[in-house]
Structure formats: structure tokens, C-alpha cells
Assembly symmetry: C2
Homo-oligomer: 339 residues x 2
Amino acid sequence: MGDSTASLIEAYHDLNANIVDELEDEPSALEFMRYVAKNRPFVVRKAATEWQAFEKWDAAYLRKAMAGEDVKVAITPSGNADAVVRQEDASDVFMEPYEIEEPFGSFLDAIQESSGRREVDKANVRYAQTQNDNLRNEYSPLQSEVPSEISFARIALEQAADAINLWLGNDRSVTSLHKDNYENIYVQIRGQKHFTILPPVEMSCVNERLLPKGRFAPSDINVGQETDGLIVKLNTNAEPVPVATWDPDTPEEKTTRYSHLAKPLRVTLREGDMLYLPSLWYHKVSQTAGEEGFVCAVNYWYDMDFAGQHWVANQFVRDVYQDEQKKPQYPSLTISTGE
Amino acid sequence: MGDSTASLIEAYHDLNANIVDELEDEPSALEFMRYVAKNRPFVVRKAATEWQAFEKWDAAYLRKAMAGEDVKVAITPSGNADAVVRQEDASDVFMEPYEIEEPFGSFLDAIQESSGRREVDKANVRYAQTQNDNLRNEYSPLQSEVPSEISFARIALEQAADAINLWLGNDRSVTSLHKDNYENIYVQIRGQKHFTILPPVEMSCVNERLLPKGRFAPSDINVGQETDGLIVKLNTNAEPVPVATWDPDTPEEKTTRYSHLAKPLRVTLREGDMLYLPSLWYHKVSQTAGEEGFVCAVNYWYDMDFAGQHWVANQFVRDVYQDEQKKPQYPSLTISTGE
């Protein structure tokens, strides 16, 4: 009996080059639809250099535009929001960040001060990463400085963006490997983002596990005071959540029997670059601050199409993998020939 | 442990309506690409009524245009070319037709004479169905009377048609359930075609089996003489071929444990109608002759894209199904509670 899951990954690589296509210009709606049909990423360098955001968004301008506004900020001990944290008892927990609201100016001060001090700074890490259409809400003073839609996506997918998110942080934050049920257009404004991405067929490589949820929180004596000394609070009421626990940057750890077959793609977005990250692709994202010590990006989420085969085929890959986990694994038989 | 294959088919039906979309007009290249991306069929009624072929192709015109031309004709005892035939020893063989060349005029005579006599005519059945780009070769006198490309497909898929095939026969021929590695644009000129189609995820429903190949041939005493009395000649040198043996029109026979989950779609093409049959969809095709006693259609094959996930995901569905066939099936356990 063959190993269908291994064959799937190997066949995928045989038929798909291990590169992210670089387009000269923004694609037409039809060109974009061809990429959606293939569920393959592309990058367009300098696609956003005409955007007002690209021209205007330095620290002084952002402070002025957002003066008087409070923003939601994720706070973690080491820049690892929505990530797996190993507890003292060696159990793993999927941790969500402590969330506060603070004046935009104080937030940006903290980001800039802490930037580039990854090795020495022990203070908590801030990241504005709410992913709840925040650009059209909390950050609405900045909304008109980016396009209201990515026009090729709106036309091709026949829909308005479901969310436009602003991301503001520094090099101390890393977003761990995960996937989203969205077609994602990601545009870098300041600093750099380093994407490590895997196609959905590599589901069996990422060691998805059901983990309890937790949230960072101040210890009781500190409530409402300081945010140093965050502790892990388990959410014992929440259902465990499936989490990719393999890290393509430490590929020998937390492996499955398929992890060695993964061929992660890496692409760095520099200021003005645009990435199409297709639905269900796994992505891990780290960042390098720009010259003013912060990193800023905007992404557009368009609903993926659950019709056709794309969604159900990927659920099937997952189901087959999970069934296999429940079966005993026997070593392969070696038949002695008596010689 | 769940049944991943059953879940796949059920989820597909939950997310995809059990109809063939009917479009008002030929789609734009972008609209077409959305259907290719979803791997879903559509029909455009009366799309070809402006074609010269639609206006001109009556029997008299075809005889005149093709005067002096010999054409390849498939001959079978009962209209079942490329189909499974049960032998006297109860074994099944995948049969290819006997092929002859004959003057177009004699061929069309035979088609018209035999038309509508399915129940009583015991003569062999003729069908011009070579599927080798025959419209641009054998039938080149007719080539200019259909478009050289389906323009929305050429633009969307960025390629010329790989083959343009003319099909000419009568109601006695049936094409049994199979699939092709092509995006297929099928246009009815005369008579009707009745398509029964299944999406690729229903692979596990069609009872694909590896069968030996055979070919109908005259018995030795008749070689070069008559085509009556065709016998089965096994091709013992050929590798066995995978063949769908379940028939959606006799759904209780030759079933797999998944056949009952299939939801075949049915669509009839009338004169001038166009069908997009997406790559890897199973299709069975029967026909009803037009007023002159023949059926004529033209189809355009565009190469499918083997990149992305589409091809590999469908291979995976097949691999998982085939692995399952090799395992013993146990009845499910019922645990007695002692009550």
C-alpha cells in the first residue's frame, strides 16, 4: 500500500515550481483569477508606491492623524501573539495576547523605543494586529490614504473586501504559522515583512494539534496597573483549537512523518510591495523595522469561495491525515529470502 | 474513525448546488475563468445559432462539402465504442471499436438509414468519433464553418485549442461514462446530446476497475468483406486500463459502497447549445437524432492546467480510495451495555 499523503505532496512539488511568481505590474482581474484558480501566490514589487499611505505614513504624520485616538494593542511577553507557549508542566497552550487600549501616541512611542532591541529588551511586546477591519474603524483617520478596494480582486471575485486591516509593530513580533479562510492581498507600507509560506497540501507537515486556549493577563495584584509580569490564564471553558505546531524555521523539531517533504517558500516584502497569499496557505511572518523603528502593513481580506472542490479537497487531506494518526503504525515488513 | 471519502462527497454536495448553471450569453474570459477555478459546468442555450455550421449543415450540404472524402468510422455491434463488454466467460473487457475508412456519403447514408431503429436494427452501429482533431484534418472542408477558437476560452486559458473534434452518428450510439484531462467546450449542431455528468470527487462512486483491452474485429473469414459478425479480439499485449464500470442509468448495479452518494447532473444539449464540461468530470453521453436522422456536434478541447492543486487533489482522492480497496472491511463494532 502506498502512502497517499506523501504522494500528494511530492506530486504537488513535481507540478508546481518552488518559487513565488513576481509580476511586473498589478494583474488584471483575469490574470488574478488565474492565480486564484491555481491557488498560487505572487508578489508585485513597488505596487503601492503611488498610494498616499506610502508617501505620507512617517511617525510624525501618523501621530498627528491619529491624535486623540485610542487603539487596541496586543501585548505579549516575547512578541508571540496567537502562538503556542510551553507551560512549566511541559504542556502546550495556544496563547492569545493580553489586549489593552491606549492612546495611539503612547503606543507608537513604545513600538519605536523597543525596536531593534530584540536581544536585550525584556519588556513586553506591543503589536496592533486586531484583524477586525480595524483600518475602517479604529484607524479610520487613515482610511482614505489607501485604496478602498484592490480593484483587480474586487472585479475578479465579485465582492467588496470583507476586512481591511492595519498592522503596526516592530521586529520583536512574530506571527506563528497559521492559515486563514481568505484570499489575502498584503501590502507593505513601512519596514519589511518576511513571509514563510506553505501550500494547503502540506497540512500533514505542520503537526496540527488540538490545544487548550489561554490568554496572557496581568497577575491579579497588577490588574489595571502594569503590563509587565504577564501570566498565562487558561481558558478552561473554551474548546481546544487546532494549531500548527511545526515551525519551518526549526524544521527538525516537532515534526510529523511528512514534515521533511515540505518545501516552504520565502518572500520578503519591502516598502511598497504587494503579496497575494492564496486562501488556506500556511504563513509565518516576521518583520524588520523601517528607518523610524516601526513596521506598518495593510491587508485586504476577500472571502474565499467554498464552492467547487478547493475547500472540500483540503478538508479531505486533513481528514485522511487525522484518520491515519488514529491507526497503529507498523514497521514495514522485510521478507527474508533465506539467503 | 470517520469515512473521509464519504465526507468529501457529502461536503461537496453541501457546498455545490445540484444544477448546471444556465448562462444568458457566452461568458467573458473572466466569467469563464471563475467556472474553471470552481471546476463547475455551465450551459449557454443557443450560443451557436450564428455559426455557419448551424445554418448550413443539413445532409445535402454535408454530402456536397465532403464529396470524395474518406472518413474514419468506428463500428460496434450495439453502439458501445470504448465501453465495457461482458464476455461469455463472465469476464469484462474494455472494448475499442472496429475502425474502417469509407466514403463520407456511404457513411452518412448508413447513419440516416439506421437512425431511430434502435430496438429493431441488428446491424452494426457506425459513429464518426475519432477525437483526434478530426475537424481540422479529415473534415477540413467544414472547418471554416465553425469558429477556429472559442474566444473566451482561448483568452482565459492563454492557449489555442488542442483539438477540435466533429462527432457524427445517430441515436444508436452511447458513449459510456469516462473522463478526460481537458477543459471541454461542447457545441451541438444537429440533434440532441443527453449528458449525465459527475464531479471528479465522485471518483469513488464509479467503480473504476483495471480491465484488459480488446477491439472489435471481423472474424478472419470476413476480413475486408463485411462488418457484420464482429468478434472480440483481446489485446493481450496491452496493459489493463482503468475504466469506470458503474452506470448512472442503472445505479443499483456494479456499485461501490459510495455509489449511492453520487448525484449525477443531467443536461440535454439541443441544436445550437454549448456546454462547458470541466476537466476530470465523468460524463456519459447518449443522443437523439435530428429531423434528418443524424446527430452532429463539435467540441473544443483545451489543455487542463496540471499545476496548482486540482490535478494532484483528484489523484489523492483516487489513491485514498484505492488504498481502501486493499484493506479488509470489518463490520462496525456495537458495544453492549449489558442492559
